[in-house]
């Protein structure tokens, strides 16, 4: 299994783009050191012999939970106060292309 204990500046920039979160120059430099030492700590899991065990995604047994497909009232007076940029009753989004 691939492991990493060092992370490069370029990889941090790529991850930041994937997560759509810009980082400042200072954060990039800082994270390079910090994330590397955190990943090194995570290598501890290599010692655990768990290959044969099933993963626990959730401690509660999960099944699909459905509800009736019925409309419920929607307090638009509060909801429409929240968007920072509106035009009439529409939310103004950044351009797509």
């Amino acid at each position: 299994m691939p492991r990493k204990s060092r992370i490069t500046l370029k990889e941090i920039e790529h991850l930041a783009w994937l997560a759509r979160v810009q980082l400042t120059k200072r954060e990039k430099r800082l994270f390079k050191e910090q994330l590397s030492s955190i990943l090194e700590y995570f290598d501890k899991l290599d010692e655990a012999n768990v290959e044969e065990l099933p993963p626990t995604f959730h401690v509660v047994e999960h099944y699909n939970v459905f509800r009736e497909d019925e409309p419920r009232p929607f307090p638009s007076d509060i909801v429409l106060k929240n968007p920072p940029k509106m035009k009439g009753r529409f939310i103004k989004a950044p351009r797509i292309v």
Partner: protein
Amino acid sequence: MNPLLYPAEKVASAVRNGELSALDYLEAVLERLKHVEPKLNAFITVTEELARRKAENIDRRVEKGLKVGKLAGVVVAVKDNICVKGVETTCGSRILKGYRPSYNATVVERLMAEDAVIIGKTNMDEFAMGSSTEFSAYGPTRNPWDLERVPGGSSGGSGAAVASGEATLALGSDTGGSVRCPAAFCGVVGLKPTYGLVSRYGLVAYANSLEQIGPMARNVGDCALLLSVIAGYDPRDSTSLKVQPMDYQTKLTDPPELEKLRIGVIKEFMGEGVQEGVRERVWNAVQSLENLGARVGEVSLKSLDYALAAYYIIAMSEASSNLARYDGLRYGFRSSDQGLDWNRAYAKTRRMGFGEEVKRRIILGTFALSAGYYEAYYLKALKVRTLIRMEFEKAFKKFDVLVGPSMPMTAFKIGEKIEDPLELYMCDINTVPANLVGIPAISVPCGLSDGLPVGLQVMAPPLREDLVFKVAYAYERTGKWMFQLKP
């Protein structure tokens, strides 16, 4: 007795009988709040007027002889990641500045139905990511016992509010210890319930598979009362358990002794890396429980060595996915995006809206879930989670409850650990196992070390909150710890 020191149950019964006006009690709490809040910064929002209206409404109903709820007049502080309709809910983040939810969390509905008076929204580490409340966009909260120290986190505002008398009770949320850590550091009682016992509807998600809303109080009885109000099945949370509601308070002394109760002290919680004074206080507490008739033994859970790494990988992975929703469009903060396309506008809003720790976790979580690393990190952590579960199940065959220190240290200085994220993560070493396994765990004060509170942690099998309360209550009744109002 100063009404400020009344247990919640006494406040409610005095209000119900007309001996204490809910408004008078609220004014006394507000006066206390105005006196200590400039020092503590425990609240992000104080909902003074809403609280007054509620208190007046309760008083009017008492006057008319109408029925009032179990928490009539009891003043409750709510962590700022739990939605209260129309009241700003920031999660301690700039990105949610100005967000006003259009609905109440289920726990808030239940508080209101029992006539609790909500006094405000408490400070927290941004999106509950932290163990010191220093990672709040609204400034750190200070520990009422020593203003130079952290109150613990991430529910540090709730812990400080209860310890200082700014509220009778508080709600926190616990993803990896965020209720138990501030309870231990501030000298109050805090419970993380069994996963699925308390509805998460209206709790802003950080790591869904780990977190629960939990009660915080000055004593075990109040903590049990608050859990009785908020626990129970909710169809709006698909992970909610279909269990019968229980009155946890009546279980505290039923049966009254600890005769034959088997208590396992977790060896790994008591080793090196635990402050000497903390270890001593916890051993003394265990001794007191033994004197009450409990049978004490030691138990080693070897897999705990991996718990912290597994926890952080899972929590960060879930966080990176959950926090993708913050795009600045529908609520909260949005940066200027003139000339930027959608992706760049989105990335810029998130740069300015999120703090450093949140970004660290989003980046690491994105990494752990990315192609090529998913198996080595995320999937491996989930398998380790299974291993830890199995070890706990085995331990619970030999012992009814497992105990140890809630935190390996007492409250540290503000700024002391903030430069080194890994060192800060290490603080959670004793609290994360209960979240990975989904079991109930309480922190109950068990004395002071160098003048700072120490918390005893008690864990039990799923849905055995009655057992953790019983042990905590039995310890509390020895009188070795009495709640002290600070500062």
